[in-house]
Symmetry: C2
Subunit: 467 residues, 2 copies
Amino acid sequence: MNSIDDIRLFLDPKSVAVIGANPNTGELAFNLVENLARWGYEGQVYPVNPAHSEVLGWKCYAEVGDIPAGVDLAVLVTPRTTIPDVIRQCGEKGVRAAVVVGQGFADAADEEGRRLQDELVEAGRRSGVRVLGPNTMGSLNPFADFSTSFLGLFDVQRRPIGVVSQSGLFFTNVGRMRLLGKAIDVGNACDVDITEALDYFAQDPEVKVVVLHIEGVRDGRRFMEVARRATRRKPVLALKTGRSEPSARAAVSHTGSLVGNDDVWNALFKQCGVVRADNLDELGDLAKAFLRLPLMKGRRVAAVSGSGGAGIMSIDACVEHGLQVADLSPATRSRLQEMSPRWHRVGNPLDLWPLVMGSPADVTKSLRTALSLLLSDRQVDGVAFFGSAWFDGLSPSLAEVIADTADAFPDKPIALSLCEGVIYDIGAEEVARKLDEAGKACVFSNPDDALRALSRLAAYAEFLRGA
Amino acid sequence: MNSIDDIRLFLDPKSVAVIGANPNTGELAFNLVENLARWGYEGQVYPVNPAHSEVLGWKCYAEVGDIPAGVDLAVLVTPRTTIPDVIRQCGEKGVRAAVVVGQGFADAADEEGRRLQDELVEAGRRSGVRVLGPNTMGSLNPFADFSTSFLGLFDVQRRPIGVVSQSGLFFTNVGRMRLLGKAIDVGNACDVDITEALDYFAQDPEVKVVVLHIEGVRDGRRFMEVARRATRRKPVLALKTGRSEPSARAAVSHTGSLVGNDDVWNALFKQCGVVRADNLDELGDLAKAFLRLPLMKGRRVAAVSGSGGAGIMSIDACVEHGLQVADLSPATRSRLQEMSPRWHRVGNPLDLWPLVMGSPADVTKSLRTALSLLLSDRQVDGVAFFGSAWFDGLSPSLAEVIADTADAFPDKPIALSLCEGVIYDIGAEEVARKLDEAGKACVFSNPDDALRALSRLAAYAEFLRGA
C-alpha cells in the first residue's frame, strides 16, 4: 500500500467500525452510527462497545477483533486513555486506518496528553495502522455519502473541491466557504498530515481545486516538494493562520503545531504557486473563482458599471490588487462611442448609464453588446462588472446575458458584483444564484473582492507560465 | 435662511414641482410623480410640462410660474440646454431649492457641458435658488416618505443614518450597505456639496451616524472644519474613492471632482476623527457597528469561539487591526478553568468546545456564563465571538443569550461571526436577523470583519478622548 491508498481508506471505506458506539439518538447525541444511516452511507457499519449488543438496529461487537469481516476504517470515540490499546487491537484485526476523534492529546495542557499522543503514534506505527487525528472531525466524502463527522452536515454537495484543514470548522459552512467537497481534518496531525492529504487531493480526479487551512506543518521541505508538484496539476489555495506571536501560541495549544514566521510562509507559498487567502471570506471567494472562471492570461482589466461611482471603485480595486486598467483599442472605443450620447466620452471604466438612459428598455441589449466588445478586445484580459440587479427584471435577464457572454468568451474571466434590485423584487442574490447554477461567472460581494479574485487568477497563470 | 434650512428643503419639502413631468407609467418610465404617489408622499405635487394638462391624475402646469401656490422644491428633468432658464423661472416663482437630475454638465466631455454647468450655477446664485446636482438622484428621506430618485427604492426604512454620496449607487442597496436612512447625492456638487450636507446631518437629531462617499471636495479646509465639528457630535464614516491615478482621472470625468492625494486624505481623516472604510462592505459593516455597538473604551479583546481554529483566526485579526489580546484576570481564568476538563488550560482565545463537549445540551448556559465572566473582567474592553449557529437549536437560543448579555453589559461591544448551522436548519442568517431585530449586537461575515469593526470603535473612542 502507498500513501494514496492509505488516504483513500479514510475517504472511501467499504466498511467502518465505530469503536465506542452508543445507542443514544437525536441531534445532540452526536452519534456517528446514526449519522451514517441518515447520510445514506452504503458500506458496512460495525458498532463496537462491550456494553451493548445492538446499536440502532446494527449488531454491536464487544471488541473490534470480534467483527466477522474485514474492516477498512475504524473511528475511535473512546476515552483518551484507551486509545493506544484500541489502536493496537485495530492493528491485530488488520484495520489499516483509524480516526481518533477526541481531544486531550498534544492539544492538552497536561503531560499525560502529550504522553498519550506519543504512545498512540507508536502503537499505530508498530501495528501498521494509519491514524487521522487526534482532535479531529476526520473525513468527509460526499461522493461516497460518507463522513466521520459527529456533527450533522449542512449543504454538502459533490463539489470538486478538496479541503485539508486543521480545524473541524471547515466541516461546517463558514462565511463564504459554502464550497465543501471532500475534506480531511488532520487535527493534531500525529500521523496523516496536511502534506499527505494535499498530495492525495492533487492526484484525485474528482478534485479540481485544493483548499488548505494551515496552522503549521512539521516538515516544511516536504510540504514544499508536494505543494510544488500539486500546483502544476491544479490550483492550491491556502489560509495560513497563527500569523502573529499571540495567535501562533494559541495554535501550539490548539493542535500542537509548529507555526513558523509569516514572512517565511509568504515566500514559500509564492515559490510553490500556492494562492494565499488572508481570511475565510477570501478563501471562499477564491475557491469559487478558481472553480468557475478561466485563468486570466494577463493583468489588463476592463471595468463596466451601471454607475460612474461604481466604476471608480472598480478601478481603485484594480490598482490595489496589482491589475492594470486596460487601454481599450481604438476600434472598441469607437464602437462604444457610437452607442453613447454625443457629450459623453466612453472610456475604462465604462459607465453604462449614459449609454442606456435614452432607452432603458434596451439595457440588457446594450450590456450584451458592450460586454462582447470589451471581451473581444485583444487589449483586455478580463472584465469586472459592477451592475444593478434591477436589470434582471428586463428581458433577457442579466443572469442570462452574463452566462451567454461567458459562454462566448470562455478564455476570459467575468467577475461581477451587484447592487440590490431597486425596481423589481428580483435582488442581487437571485441573480447570483442563477449564475451559480449556470456555473459560468462569479458574483462577489463588492468590486474589491471581484478584482482581488481576478488578480489571483492572473498570478496563478503567471506561475504556470513560469513568469 | 441659513444653510441648514436650505438643505431641509431638499429632504423635507412640503410641496414639490416636477418640471418636465410626463404621463408615462410603469417601472421603466422612471416617473418621479408616480414614484412619489407610490411611496405615500403626503406633500403637494405639481407636475410641470407645457405638452400636458394632466399627469397621472394631477393637474399639470405649463410653467412653474403658473402653479397657484408656494413651492418648496423643484425637481428638473428637462434637457440640459433648458436648465439655466428653468432655474431662473424657479427663482422668479420664489422656489428656493432645485434638484437637477440630468447628466451632460461638468461630467461631460464637451465644452458645452461645462459652459451649461457654469451658466446654471450663475442662474441659481442670481435667482436665490440652491441647486443639488446636476447628475444626481437628489435626496431621500424615509422619515417623510420622500425621495427625488427616479429609480424605485428598495428596503428603505427610517434608519438613523445620514448618507452623503457622489453617486446614485448609494440609493440602491449595495453590498452590505443595507443601511439606507436619509441620503443626499450631491452629484457634480455645483452648489450643495458634501461639506454642507455633512454639516446638516451632523445637526439632524434623526441622524446618529453619518456616512460619506467622497470622490473629491473643492474646499479641503472648509471640509476639515465641518468634519471636525461633526465628529465631536456623532460618528462620521467615509469611503474615499479615486485613490489612484487612473481612478482619480475617472472621478474627474464622473463628477468633475478634484480628488487629491490619498495619503493627504488619510492624514485629514485621522486629524478630524473621520473613520475611513476601504470598500463598500467595510462601510456597511462600520455603519452597523457604530449604530448598534457601544464604543470600545480600550483595545483589549477577549476572543471566544466554538472551535480552536476559529479562535486563532480571531487573534490573527485582532493583531492585524491593532487590537490587543486581553490578558484575562486570575479570577476570570480560574472561574473558566472550573468549567473545563482537567487536561484543558483555558486562555484567550477561549475555545468553548472543551467546556461544553461533556454536556452539549448545556451549551448556551456555558456560553452565557463564559461571556458574562469575560465581559465582567476589567482587563477586557470588548468581546469577539466566533460561534456556530447550530447552538441556536438549543434553548435558550444563541440570539437570546447574546442579546441578554449585550443588555447586561451595555458598555462593552460584542462582535460576532457565525458559521452555518450544521445540525439544525436555523442558519447563521437567521441568528443574524434576530440580533439585527434586537439591535444589541452585530454579526459580521468573518472574524476579520468583526475585529476590524471593534478596532474602529476603539479608535473613535480614542479620538473623542483626545488620545
